[in-house]
């Protein structure tokens, strides 16, 4: 079985000053996740590892580096899904957790539930001994500055330009040497969102979906639009209908644009190792590792081959 891992660091109009760090970040995350697969690790372990790497990287809007809500606080969402069992774990609006994707995995493996929110999610984290991270350690100076600016201009104007909004949710999909697929997505949401706003990332079928029978998907973009078309599940549906992975993603993004006038991006992988990283926004930082080779991109149609992955 061909092991493949793909990651994304968010689909939006990534400004030039963040471009290099974003590309570096996704390449590093892909390498880390691929190493797990290379040593016979599971797709689930690999996607968690890759997403943790991006949560720890302050350039992305997930874990460290998350954007702030209307009250100037950090509220994090994440999901992980195991294509073998359709098992899934998700957290929404959890606070002071550095690696929400790992908390999401704990929800899947240590509870009978699929999703925990807010204070309940935090209580669970406490109960299982998850370390809390003070808000100041999660928020960058850059984000504080941008948040102050956004407060000045108000959210209304920003809504018109969905892709201009910082949307660097992170995600990963993988297929391991046993043919099992998995996905994971993590985010701090959108800057200045209402307190308690839940986007697509932790919602199964929207921010991510994985099924050994067809593949795994992780999405990024304007959360509300992704939710309306249940983007991840839509991509999987097209794969189920026999479409190539790349076509399934392209078709679904086109549909989202047609129905709800929004751009976005998605990464997807099939059990046979076909993969895609496609977006309709200005940019999306992504990287993929397969057969010892690392690929990456940022701008549309870009697909650069990098040196072999260790």
């Amino acid at each position: 079985m061909k092991a493949v891992l793909v990651v994304h660091g968010g689909a939006w109009a990534i400004p030039d000053e963040l471009a290099e760090a974003s590309v570096k970040g996704v390449k590093a995350a892909a390498s880390e996740g691929y190493r797990v697969l290379g040593t016979g690790g599971s797709a689930l372990d690999a996607v968690e590892k890759a997403v943790r790497a991006m949560e720890d990287n302050p350039v992305f809007d997930a874990g460290h580096g998350a954007v702030l809500n209307a009250d100037g606080e950090v509220e994090l969402d994440a999901i992980i899904m195991d294509g073998q069992t359709l098992g899934s774990g998700a957290v929404s609006c959890v606070q002071n957790i550095a690696n929400p994707v790992s908390l999401a995995r704990a929800v899947m493996e240590k509870t009978d539930h699929v999703m925990l929110t807010s204070r309940g999610a935090n209580l669970f984290a406490e109960r299982i001994g998850f370390k809390t991270a003070p808000t100041e350690t999660l928020v960058t100076a850059y984000e504080r500055r941008e948040w102050e600016k956004a407060k000045e201009y108000g959210a209304g104007v920003k809504e018109l330009f969905h892709s201009q909004l910082c949307h660097d949710t992170v995600g990963a999909v993988a297929v391991d040497s046993c043919g099992n697929v998995a996905c994971a997505t993590s985010t701090g949401g959108i800057r200045n969102k209402m307190v308690g706003r839940v986007g697509d990332s932790p919602v199964i079928g929207a921010g991510g979906y994985a099924d050994n029978r067809s593949g795994a998907v992780s999405c990024t973009g304007h959360g509300e639009s992704i939710l309306k078309v249940t983007l991840a599940r839509l991509i999987i549906f097209h794969i189920e209908q026999g479409k190539e992975v790349e076509d399934a993603v392209a078709l679904s993004l086109r549909y989202m644009d047609e129905r709800v006038h929004s751009g976005g991006g998605a990464i997807a992988v099939s059990p046979s190792g076909q993969w895609a990283a496609t977006f309709t926004t200005e940019r999306m930082a992504w990287a993929a590792a397969e057969q010892g080779t690392l690929w990456y991109g940022l701008n549309p149609q870009e697909r650069v081959q990098d040196k072999p992955v260790q």
Partner: protein, 360 residues
């Protein structure tokens, strides 16, 4: 085409379809001459007018105890009548489903609003969703407390914010900002809910099995005169759930989905299982492939049973007004209103009809 249940008013269509069948038997080929296509679509639009509006509600899938069956059935019938009256008044499918679900939230016999099951701490946390099939707009709340009608708050999320889902404290904050009255948590708790909670605190209790027992999530789907489709679902969630547990109800594509192009679904049953197969969305995918609401619903529920061993039920409607109320659990209280007739049932295969004006 398995059209409406009143094929008498569509006898012209039936004749035409007989003629088509005859031609097919003759030369073995299906042929649709352009003139026939136009005629067929004219018949269809006659059918459409005859079929709409329609509203279907459910009051939860499970194993309703004998003594509660009549309460549940009476409740869904009352809700269906209330929602249908809205449609007959020319108002929208969104207004109708919210009316029907509000009615069920206010009815303590159901696991939504007043009468919600309790979380492990003995408190009420509620989830709800609405979706507008015309625009794919949606509003949802999860783990919200101290309000009587989460479905109305979900609608406000859709109409008054640029978001689709608000949770917990944030949802409560929004409710206050909207002037929604805050109610004491206790006022939503019934003796029955408290009794079930205590019982399930026992170490060998099985809340999942129990959940598939006594009380259910409520929901409604509707198509109005203009052909606009909507769905609404509301719940107190799972018996003795962990604090902050969010089930399918607040998750678009799982606890509800509506699309003018395909139809609407409102599920009930084991929330985690519904989420894993994104049940509402799955059923509509099948309908988009040409299946009837009944076939699609049965296939979706069978998939859920096969893949994740989950039981449940759905109410489903398509743009032509065909509807279905299907379930794999032992019972599901449901009622459908269409063309002046009320259909309802609780047990598998049951479909009782009465005039909608009949007060019982």
């Amino acid at each position: 085409m398995n059209c409406c249940r009143n094929s008498e008013h569509c006898s012209a269509y039936m004749d035409q379809s007989k003629r088509r069948r005859g031609r097919r038997e003759g030369d073995g080929r299906k042929s649709y001459r352009p003139s026939l296509r136009k005629e067929r679509s004219k018949r269809l639009s006659l059918c459409l007018v005859g079929m709409l509006p329609v509203l279907v509600v459910h009051g939860g899938a499970g194993q309703i105890p004998k003594e509660r069956v009549e309460m549940a059935s009476a409740g869904v019938r009352a809700a269906a009548r209330a929602g249908y009256a809205v449609l007959q008044g020319g108002r929208s499918s969104m207004d109708a489903v919210v009316e029907a679900v509000t009615n069920l939230e206010n009815n303590p016999s159901f696991n939504a609003g007043y009468g919600s099951v309790l979380n492990v701490k003995g408190e009420v946390e509620m989830d709800a969703i609405v979706m507008d099939g015309r625009t794919l707009a949606s509003g949802a709340v999860s783990a919200v407390r101290n309000i009587a009608n989460p479905i109305q708050l979900a609608r406000l999320v859709m109409e008054q914010t640029s978001h689709l889902c608000l949770t917990a404290g944030g949802a409560g904050q929004f409710a206050r900002a909207m002037g929604m009255p805050e109610v004491p948590g206790d006022s939503l708790i019934t003796e029955y809910a408290r009794m079930r909670w205590k019982k399930n605190l026992a170490p060998n209790a099985n809340p999942v099995e129990s959940q598939m027992g006594k009380m259910g999530t409520v929901g409604a789907v509707a198509v109005d005169e203009d052909g606009n489709i909507a769905c609404a679902t509301s719940t107190g969630g799972m018996l003795n759930k962990m604090e902050g547990r969010v089930g399918d109800t607040a998750c678009i594509g799982c606890g509800g989905y509506a699309d003018n192009r395909a139809g609407a679904v409102s599920p009930t049953g084991h929330g985690e299982a519904i989420m894993k197969v994104t049940l509402a969305r799955l059923i509509l995918f099948h309908m988009a492939q040409g299946m009837s609401p009944e076939e699609a619903s049965d296939l979706g529920l069978a998939t859920m049973k096969e893949r994740v061993e989950g039981l449940g039920g759905v109410v489903t409607v398509d743009p032509q007004g065909r509807w279905a109320a299907r379930f794999t659990s032992t019972q599901m209280a449901w009622a459908a209103a269409q063309g002046g007739t009320l259909h309802f049932g609780v047990f598998s295969g049951e479909d009782v009809t009465q005039d909608i004006g009949d007060p019982s």
